[in-house]
Symmetry: C2
Subunit: 236 residues, 2 copies
């Protein structure tokens, strides 16, 4: 069964947007009577059948809409510096959606490799990935901000962690997540690393340095493994 | 500190291979006296200094070689059907190396999307990823085999799991890994799914169907998340 995005999902007749109608009619070659599901990105899922279809207009008759409960992984907030090769960041985003992250923020720090981001393109990746993995709740995607702004942003509502590759012993993200009583906000450093001053200010703001895996992970790998580990262990 | 691959690692003088010498001399612009480390792919790590360097020849004087213990994640065996888009399989392989998988096999089943694989190219991805993440033990990479051959291969030595997206309730891979007394061999299905017959024969051969995550994961995502979850939970 194919899944489509319908922002204003309701019981009864739903006219798909032009993009979704194209996807349904052309890419999936759907026909009248096919069973489909619609999601609104806010946790609602509707199931129904195609009532009418042309190459540009699709009407889905939705018989039932349910609101799905927020999963623990959907509370996780991952903050990551965009990578030099943009496809690595895009890859991370697609996978983070599949494993169920709740919010993704991008930031710039001193050794950031990239400052330009096309948020509209990233938003489309989010929607396509959500449809592919049948997610009814889409993660929030924030416009990039500076590192100090990011550190302070809504930090009161989260357990604060900071992933930084070092040969010094740090508590593992697993242990950190297991003991968290709030959702986790995890910051993953840029490819060029953090400066000592950036590290110090994070500690001062209440973040704990944590280790992800035994090996030196790439930025996008650390961010994705972070999503998986927090989703597995955090019970907030 | 940069890491290079040296198959016949030894204490004393080591002549790097032409590929590694090029990487060291040109890409990293190393100089005499720079500290580097060498790994042999079999769990040995040597630390030393560059003794002589030209554009094509590099000699590293290694002061000490240590053998590193096998980590639990390095016992994991992931079997995956190559994806239609080859870059998805290559991406999986790079990330699986970073999180520390022990062995990767490819297989063909009825709905496999791809049959051609360039194993030499995949082997280079493994080596580059190992150097990047400083792994001293490289995963074993097997040439593709048919599904039935794969099912039977060395299955006596592993706890056998089979990841298959279904809406029916299955035990999670987490629970499966937690209760494993042996290393885990995990089979992840092709993009087109398994046939009922393929599913049945896997059960008959002693594999247990397990669920990875709550969402419908792409093949390469399921394989990678499988590596992370087994590495986190399996204590064999």
């Amino acid at each position: 069964m194919n899944t489509y995005y319908q922002a204003s999902l309701q019981e009864g007749d739903n006219w798909l947007s032009p993009e979704e109608a194209l996807h349904c009619a052309r890419s999936h070659r759907s026909r009248i009577g096919d069973e489909v599901e619609l999601v609104d990105g806010n946790g609602h899922r509707g199931t129904g059948k195609i009532k009418s279809i042309t190459k540009t207009d699709v009407v889905v008759s939705v018989s039932a809409v349910v609101e799905e409960a927020l999963q623990p992984c959907e509370r996780t907030w991952i903050c990551v510096a965009p990578t030099k090769q943009m496809e690595r960041t895009e890859w991370f985003l697609e996978k983070a959606v599949e494993v169920g992250v709740g919010r993704v923020s991008f930031f710039y720090s001193q050794y950031s490799e990239r400052r330009a981001l096309r948020l509209d393109r990233l938003q489309r990746i989010v929607i396509e990935a959500c449809k592919q993995c049948r997610a009814s709740r889409f993660p929030r995607l924030d416009a990039p901000v500076g590192y100090l702004t990011l550190l302070k942003e809504e930090s009161f509502a989260y357990s604060l962690a900071f992933a930084h590759y070092t040969t010094q012993p740090l508590r593992s993200l697993r242990e950190f997540a297991l003991e968290s009583t709030q959702a986790v906000k995890l910051i993953v450093g840029p490819e060029g690393g953090f400066t000592d001053a950036e590290y110090t200010v994070a500690l001062h703001e209440g973040y704990e340095g944590v280790a992800i895996g035994a090996r030196r992970l790439r930025t996008e790998t650390a961010a994705l493994v972070g999503c998986v580990v927090i989703g597995e262990y955090c019970n907030c």
